[in-house]
Amino acid sequence: MFARAKQLTMLLLGSACLWGGSALAADSAGRSDENMPIGVTPVSQTVYDIHMLMFWICVAIGVLTFGALIFSLIKYRKSKGAVAANFHESTKVEIAWTVIPFIILIGMAWPATTALIEVYDSDEAELDIKVTGSQWKWRYDYIGEDVGFLSILSTPRDQIENKTAKGEFYLQEVDEPLVLPVGKKVRFLVTASDVIHSWWVPDLAVKRDAIPGFTHESWAYIEKAGTYRGYCAELCGKDHAFMPIVVKAVPEAEYNDWLAQKKQEAAELRALTSKVFTLDELMARGKDVYSKNCAACHLENGEGVQGAFPALKGSPMAIEADQLTAHIDIVVNGKSGTAMQAFGGNISDVDLAAVITYERNAWGNNTGEIVQPVDVYNHRKGE
């Protein structure tokens, strides 16, 4: 920390040079806290090369420009007896420093154009992932595979509120990462369900705005297995800083095993829809679902945030018997024009039933009412 502060003070004397120095350090290490990661896809490597090329061109121009400036400031000081000349134009010089930068720009535009064409070439993908941003979680659907899940920040609230020590991946960890195979061209179909988000994973050099009502494409061909972390990059409301992205790239065989297991889990969960649960079972499950999906707005204690997110504790919606259908409806279908999103289809009917039951019985809401998965299923089907 102190060493860095010292570096920065030096930097104020010759800022561009030190920036170059730290960028060089990044070259050898591959990864750094000061520079763009080289990444693990062909595109990310191209982008890194362009970034460094632009950087060094700027450094070179900077050295020339600031060199001329510093030379003038030292040589032509009045205190050293400098007497001002009286020239004030030179057509030749002015044309030269219009044309030369123009030529340099053409030199920059060429590699940038080829790189951009590469970035846009999302054809012939072997795997399609639909990425949906919603306040403040990501949903991943494996197109054609009947596998989809929400991916939610897993950093405990206590760490954010400084009550316990922060973990190594503070704010960069999720409950369910996006699992992708290595060595396959993966296409991302990026969209959003409420406001604009942006799906950014620096190591893949993918950043694509997730815009409600529109789907845009991006792609990655991951060359190296590993865990790559990213962020939402478009201001999307209060928990903008709390919707990270974790991509786990694994060898193809491992990926296939994982996918098969996911499919089986989904089938088991669907089978549970017809099971009849007890209040205790639902409460235990519901508490878990609630803290993952609902506590960000309505808070763990159900008290909400005044003026922004309504309280559930003591709310007529959650305690009055004739509001039960309305309660199920708002959880399943959301409420348009508010931050309350539709959870039907995003999480299972079992979890929906559990969380609604939990909301009607937690924090002294003790209604004793039980909502079974089949009730949610019927509501979703319009019965």
């Binding site: 860095r4 806290d33 990661p37 400098a82 000349a85 009286n86 020239f87 064409i117 409420d194 009502g213």
Partner: protein, 518 residues
Amino acid sequence: MAHGPAKGIRRWLYTTNHKDIGSLYLWFSFAMFILGGAFAMIIRAELFQPGMQLVEPEFFNQMTTMHGLVMVFGAIMPAFVGLANWMIPMMIGAPDMALPRMNNLSFWLLPPAFLMLAATLFTEGGAPQAGWTFYAPLSTTYANPLTATIFIFAVHTMGASSIMGSINIIATILNMRAPGMSYMKMPLFVWTWLITAFLLVAVMPVLAGAVTMMLMDIHGGTSFFDAAGGGDPVLFQHVFWFFGHPEVYIIILPAFGVISQIIPTFSRKPLFGYSSMVYATASIALLSFIVWAHHMFTVGMPLAGELFFMYATMLIAVPTGVKVFNWIATMFKGSITFETPMLFSLAFLVLFTIGGFTGVMLSIAPADFQYHDSYFVVAHFHYVMVAGAVFSMSAAVYYWLPKWTGRMYSEPLAQVHFWTSFIGFNLTFFPQHFVGLAGMPRRYSDYALQFADYNMISSCGAFLYGISQILFLVIIILTIKGGKKTTADKTWEGAEGLEWTVPSPAPYHTFSTPPTVK
């Protein structure tokens, strides 16, 4: 002198004198600068360490939004309008602005606009939280309707003020120049403001259109920006940046003008390449209309669109480079001294150029995918907005303060102000290049551990920069109250221009008979 100003509060409420109105603008903008700065201090205090310390994320978002809005619309723009009011008539040999009555109105629209904006902090839903760019649908469908509505009316009011101010400036420059002052003899500051005023008249109505569409979406049942109703959230961004990109040149062009006045003075040598400076300014203004979508490279435009906006954006480096080279050539073979206005101008030159370099890097679309919405962008635009606009404004105040007040500021104190500002500024924003490249997105109320060190340095720098602006206020008040009297017309040995032919302090009415320019 025919007569002096009225006494008491009515002098300021009813005044039509360009110097009074200029002072009102300058004091108002300074108040907003302190307010916007206070918001920034809250932001930097919260980001001092990872974890939520002082404020809730909702309030953090309100602070980032209000900081941007207040600094752009309340501090920087009115500061340069104030400078224009004070200096343009004196520089072109006019007795006053062309439309003095409207001048009064255009100033007095501002305080209610910002009072409304600030009042939203105390409403139930809080202040706007969607960023200074207030992208839909976060700012429409998902915003508190009361806040959004007050905000929209505030924007309309300040827009009306800006348009009136610009029309006044255009009318003054076109009609009231002293005999013999052809366009190509106008001081560069006047030129840059003429071009800026045209930019303002062209784009403020676009902003008004954007917020009117928002108002209709919120209260009129339309769906301009709502995909569910057949609208398009990206339409908002196109409209916003069609205003917003020229807006950044509205902010920086007058700064170019100021620097073009100051560097020749302290180099004791005429500005190098006057005519290419004028052409460069005009080309920057024209280019600014066709590059707006470089703020939106990641929204999913077609390849051809991305290429067009990338090439057009890169082109802006050419005229901007010409300006930087001309300033350096002005100093080459000069006779240079380093009074505070010159120090701020030199800092402007170096730091603005660094901001220009990162600007060129940002123009490269494939690399921009990585830079966009990260702290790299935050660093870039603060090098342009703060080291560009605010530093040049400080330079302008020190440069013309003796002319305004007839008193000299304290040079040692002013140099302290310069160095604390310079060091504070760089400590704040230079590390943000690193955290941005390493992957920290902007507008984050909390961040991962690897960004902690640089954020701490950044916050320390911000507090230093913030405190040093209080020193600025002290220096100005000390000058007005009891600075050393300077009665000479020319405070600075190398200063040229009509404003230096009138006595110090500049009399309430100047040029009742026009001077002749040879």
